[in-house]
Each structure stands twice: as structure tokens, then as C-alpha cells.
């Protein structure tokens, strides 16, 4: 890496194969190094740039680590109260039907305090995109148990591991909303490798495209890491995610074109 920077001549315009999208505001992200939030921000903005809809998009950010998403994404945005982003997005889309409207929410935001707003926006078939960052923990407030925390997983409020008998089971919101007739496209992805990030980008693009068709909710869960909350290095966190999160939250499409994908048993 260092050698790269030592040779400015190779940064000639004709040699550039990838650069940060101009739709990311040029300021340092508030996320911990290695956190998936930043990657999802970037690919989301790449999609908006590629579709040339910067002026036609209204985003809704949550309360959680991504509460400041609106500082980084160069589009008009509203910061919702904790869990209520789908309610805001519902009204915005109803009153601005030609805008692209999305919510960006963590697992505590979407699957605990905002469960009702999430399920009902999906059930009404709102023509919005929901981007759901599932890191199995409350990152922002310092690593408490989330509805998505795995059985046995430690957090600051399940210090001996999540005991499902007293603390309940992890909630698979994505499988749940896929059952609702109001969702049109439901998928679960990750961004921990370039290949996965590309798949997530395609999924976000697809979800934005179906807003044009007015067919209902496009839903992208991104299984992500929280190396700070999990108390791991970024590399360890990605490995732990592959070994533990993916078996419980398997990646891939769950519903496409309004039809549930048959999973081979």
C-alpha cells in the first residue's frame, strides 16, 4: 500500500479504476475502522450516482450508529426517531410518489423498538427501499443485546451469553417480512468481502429499480459486523461473522419478484 502512495505517477487519471463516489460527502466517517456501515453507505451512494437520482432521492436515517448517516450522504435526508423511519418513509413516499425513498436502519431500530412500523410499512406494500444493517448488537449505546443477538452470544446486557429461555430468541425479521404480500424483493447480503459488497450493491440497485414499478417494499438485510461491540479486531469480527452469523442468517435472496424462493432442505 505504502509503495502505491509513494508513486504519484500511477494515480494518473487514465490509471484510476475505482474512486470514491462524489455523492459521499468528503468528511471522515464516524464509524469504527472495519465497520460495515461505511461500506454500505458507499455502495448505496454509488447506486444513486449510477441511477442519476441524487436530486430525486429522500433518505431516512435511524437512531443507532448510523444516526449521522445524513452527514455523509450528499442527498436530502431526515433523521427519524428511534425505530420510526418506515413511518416517515411511508408518508414521504405517499406525498412524493416520484421520489426514491429509502430507510437505513440498524437491528435494534428496525427489529425491536420499530418492529410495528417496519411490519406495517411492509404489509401496506409501501414503495420504498429498506436497508437493514444487522450486526446482532446495539452498537451505538455500547454493545447491549439486540433482538438479533445470537443464542449464547455475549453482550453488555447478556454478559453470560444470550439465554434464549429468559431473553427470547433472535428475531429473523427478513424471513418474517418475506411472508407479507406487501414485500416484493427481500434479500440478505453482506459487505465483508469485495464480492459480497458487489452483490449487495446489485441488491440495492434492484430494490431502487422496483420503486419505479410500484410493486411494494424492496428489502436488503446486510449481515454486518460490530467489531467494537463484539470486542474483536475487524479481521476477527469478519471471521466470527462468517462462522456464527451466516449459519443463523444465511445469505441470499428470500423473495424475488414477489415470490418466495424455495430453499433446498
Amino acid at each position: 500500500m505504502e509503495e502505491l502512495f509513494a508513486k504519484p505517477e500511477i494515480r494518473k487519471p487514465e490509471n484510476i479504476v475505482y474512486k470514491k463516489t462524489d455523492l459521499m460527502v468528503d468528511r471522515p466517517l464516524s464509524y469504527c475502522p472495519g465497520c460495515g456501515h461505511g461500506t454500505v453507505h458507499r455502495i448505496l451512494m454509488e447506486v444513486i450516482e449510477e441511477m442519476d437520482i441524487q436530486g430525486d432521492t429522500i433518505g431516512v436515517s435511524p437512531v443507532g450508529c448510523s444516526v449521522l448517516a445524513y452527514d455523509f450522504l450528499d442527498i436530502d435526508m431526515l433523521g427519524a426517531a428511534h425505530g420510526r423511519a418506515p413511518a416517515l418513509a411511508t408518508a414521504i413516499k405517499r406525498l412524493w410518489p416520484h421520489r426514491f425513498v429509502f430507510t437505513y436502519q440498524g437491528d435494534g431500530d428496525l427489529a425491536a423498538i420499530g418492529t410495528a412500523e417496519t411490519i406495517h410499512a411492509c404489509n401496506r406494500g409501501e414503495n420504498i427501499t429498506i436497508i437493514f444493517i444487522n450486526n446482532g448488537i446495539y452498537g451505538m449505546t455500547g454493545g447491549q443485546m439486540a433482538p438479533t443477538t445470537l443464542p449464547g452470544m455475549r453482550s453488555s446486557t447478556s454478559p453470560y451469553g444470550r439465554d434464549v429461555l429468559t431473553m427470547g430468541y433472535p428475531l429473523k425479521m427478513t424471513e418474517l417480512v418475506a411472508q407479507l404480500p406487501g414485500t416484493h424483493y427481500v434479500t440478505r447480503q453482506s459487505v465483508h468481502t469485495p464480492g459480497n459488497a458487489r452483490k449487495t450493491k446489485k441488491a440495492i440497485r434492484k430494490a431502487f429499480d422496483i420503486q419505479k414499478e410500484k410493486k411494494g417494499v424492496g428489502w436488503i438485510e446486510v449481515v454486518s459486523n460490530c467489531n467494537s461491540g463484539w470486542k474483536m479486531t475487524p479481521v476477527q469480527a469478519n471471521k466470527w461473522m462468517e462462522d456464527n452469523m451466516f449459519p443463523f442468517y444465511p445469505l441470499g435472496d428470500i423473495k424475488v419478484d414477489g415470490k418466495l424462493i424455495e430453499v433446498a432442505k
Binding site: 460527502v25 441524487q54 436530486g55 430525486d56 432521492t57 429522500i58 431516512v60 444516526v67 449521522l68 445524513y70 452527514d71 450522504l73 450528499d74 442527498i75 436530502d76 435526508m77 431526515l78 433523521g79 427519524a80 426517531a81 420510526r84 413511518a87 416517515l88 418513509a89 411511508t90 408518508a91 414521504i92 405517499r94 406525498l95 412524493w96 421520489r99 410495528a116 412500523e117 406495517h120
Partner: protein, 360 residues
């Protein structure tokens, strides 16, 4: 003159919303105000003006729908009754913080808790003192008739957009349910998207090429920044106090005694004033129409001329605190209230005046 109709207060709210050029109503059913959404759904405002009506899954959702829509510059309204308004408080606080315009109608019923579906004025503190968290105020209008239910919707939108602040109509189950003649104002056209964008440059309508992206939020993590937000809000509330006070005085010129009452209680006191005067008791009525801003000076100058004041409210004594704060300690001010959904009769009010003020 506008169209004359016989309507319920709740229906007048709904019809006024359509005519005010409102873009959207979001609400959840609760007695005694469900007629607002029922009227709207039956009236098909989408066909009339393009106004959207949506039944939300809860009052939490409906206030946050209002927050989202208002943040994009749209003219939106919600209505509920006491328990539902309690659920909305977080959202209302966010809207005050983010400086968003909207009209919120509370058709108050008796509490606490599930209480009763009968009329009450027990939500005065909640409405006037900022029912949610943080240092904020709402502009609070207190309609006392079906006509005012209609007119205050239009006025509420004007004030909400003038000051970029949520406005509450604090009515009650009786004003919401009773039928009266109402003169409806003529249809105001809904603004086009282009007009919204031009008139609300602060709103998140989609980034324009010639401006920075817009962020609607109540968050400022920097204490100095958050103090600036608070100072800005306080300056706005001061301006509202300077410019927007509304009140009505009935028979106050020669009054020796005074009723102070808002909303339905003022209607009852109006009758009580006539009854008392027939008995030779010179009593007048001071009716605050705006509860915030409260007519502090106006009430003080009227009270100066009388021997005693009876504050009549359908609660255990809430507005009386503001009346007392408006005047010196040497004035005789008593409270008369019925609560839990009981509406006092004008006779009862006159008796209370005689016992607590004149005889007391």
C-alpha cells in the same frame, strides 16, 4: 360568505383540512374523534384535491408520518384523543426540535389512563407546558365551537408555517361531537410540488443542484450547538408571545367578578354569565383562545378591575396556574372544576361563583 353547513366539530376539522389545501392526514382511531378520519375517508379527498389519507398502525406511527411529511414541506394534520396524544409526545418533541410545521388536534377525553371517553380539559398541562421531553412549546389553540374547530385548522396551518412549529388544537369530546352551524371557508388550492420546493427552502424535497443537501434533524451532539438550537427556539417562542395572542372578553367592561375559561368551559361560563347577571351579579368572561401564547398582560389588566376571579376548567386546576402567574398574589382567584368526563352546568358554575368568590 362561505358555505353554511350543520356539522360535528370533528367533521368540521376534516372538512377544514381538505379546504385548507392540506396534503395529508395520518391518524389512528380513538373515541371521541374517530369522525375526523371517517369523514375524510368517506369524502375521498384524494379525488377532490389530491390529499392523502392514511390509517396508521398507531399514534406513534401517525405522528412520525406527520414528522416525515412535514420535513418535506408538506401541509399535514393528525388528530387523536388523550391516550393517543400521550403516545405521540416523542414525535412532537422531535418536530419542535427540528422546527417542523403541522397541525395536531387533541379532542380531549377524561384521564388518567384509559379514563373515559367523555369530554375533559385535563390535557392542558400536557399541551401548554410541552408534553414531551426538552424545552419546547407548541402554539395551542382552544376552539370553543364547531366554527372554531373549522377556522382554527386554517389558522393552525398558517401559524405552523409562519413559525415552523407544530400547532395543537386543544378541544374536547363535546366540541368534537356537538353539531352546530358552521360557515366553511372556500377551498384553498393544494400547493404543487414546485410551489412546496420554492416556498419551503428548508425542507428535504430532494437535493437541488444549486444548494447543499438538506438535513431534517433535532440532533446536535455538540452542547454549544444544542444550546444554540434551544436559544433559537426560545427566541421564536418569544416572537409568538409578542404577535399571536388571541382572546375574547364578554361583559368585562362593567364586571365586578370574572370567569376565566377556555374551550367548552367558556361556552358554559357564557351561559353562567347570563344567569348570574339576571340575578344582578356583574360577572364577565375572559376566554383565552391561544393557550400558548397565554394572554398574560390582557388577563392581568382585566383582573385588576374585578373583586374576584373564578377559573372554570374541566380538570383539577391547570390553567389556573397560568392565571395566577399573570397577576399579583393579592387577587382572589379560585378554581372550579368537574372532571372525569363530567360537564358542569351553568347553574353549578354560578353557585360556585357565589360560594367561592362572592360569599367566600
Amino acid at each position: 360568505m362561505g358555505e353554511l353547513r350543520l356539522m360535528k366539530g370533528n367533521e368540521a376539522v376534516a372538512e377544514a383540512a381538505i379546504r385548507a389545501g392540506c396534503d395529508g392526514y395520518f391518524g389512528y382511531p380513538i373515541t371521541p374523534q374517530s369522525e375526523v378520519m371517517e369523514y375524510l375517508m368517506a369524502e375521498k379527498p384524494y379525488d377532490r384535491t389530491g390529499m392523502v389519507v392514511l390509517q396508521a398502525e398507531s399514534e406513534v406511527a401517525s405522528i412520525n408520518m406527520i414528522y416525515g411529511a412535514a420535513g418535506t414541506g408538506k401541509k399535514v394534520i393528525t388528530s387523536s384523543s388523550s391516550p393517543g396524544i400521550s403516545l405521540m409526545q416523542e414525535g412532537i418533541s422531535y418536530m419542535a426540535g427540528a422546527e417542523l410545521p403541522a397541525v395536531i388536534v387533541n379532542v380531549v377525553r377524561g384521564g388518567p389512563g384509559l379514563g373515559t371517553i367523555q369530554p375533559s380539559q385535563a390535557d392542558y398541562f400536557q399541551a401548554v407546558k410541552g408534553g414531551g421531553h426538552g424545552d419546547y412549546k407548541l402554539i395551542v389553540l382552544a376552539p370553543a365551537s364547531v366554527q372554531e374547530m373549522c377556522d382554527h385548522v386554517k389558522l393552525g396551518f398558517d401559524l405552523a408555517f409562519k413559525y415552523r412549529t407544530p400547532v395543537m388544537l386543544l378541544s374536547d369530546g363535546a366540541v368534537g361531537q356537538m353539531m352546530e352551524k358552521v360557515v366553511l371557508f372556500d377551498q384553498i388550492p393544494r400547493r404543487t410540488d414546485e410551489e412546496v420546493i420554492a416556498q419551503c427552502p428548508w425542507a428535504a424535497t430532494g437535493k437541488l443542484k444549486n444548494r447543499d443537501h438538506i438535513i431534517i434533524t433535532s440532533l446536535d451532539l455538540d452542547p454549544a450547538g444544542q444550546e444554540r438550537v434551544n436559544l433559537k427556539l426560545q427566541a421564536k417562542y418569544k416572537k409568538i408571545e409578542e404577535n399571536e395572542i388571541m382572546y375574547e372578553e364578554i361583559h368585562c367592561e362593567d364586571a365586578e367578578y370574572l370567569f376565566v375559561a377556555f374551550g367548552l368551559s367558556a361556552r358554559i361560563c357564557q351561559k353562567a354569565t347570563d344567569l348570574a347577571r339576571a340575578k344582578g351579579i356583574k360577572v364577565g368572561l375572559f376566554r383565552p383562545i391561544t393557550l400558548f401564547p397565554f394572554p398574560v398582560q390582557q388577563i392581568a389588566s382585566t383582573i385588576k378591575r374585578v373583586k374576584g376571579v373564578l377559573v372554570v376548567e374541566m380538570n383539577a386546576g391547570q390553567m389556573i396556574e397560568d392565571v395566577k402567574l399573570s397577576v399579583g398574589l393579592n387577587v382572589k382567584i379560585e378554581h372550579f372544576g368537574r372532571f372525569g368526563g363530567i360537564i358542569p352546568s351553568p347553574d353549578e358554575v354560578v353557585r360556585a361563583l357565589e360560594q367561592k368568590i362572592i360569599g367566600g
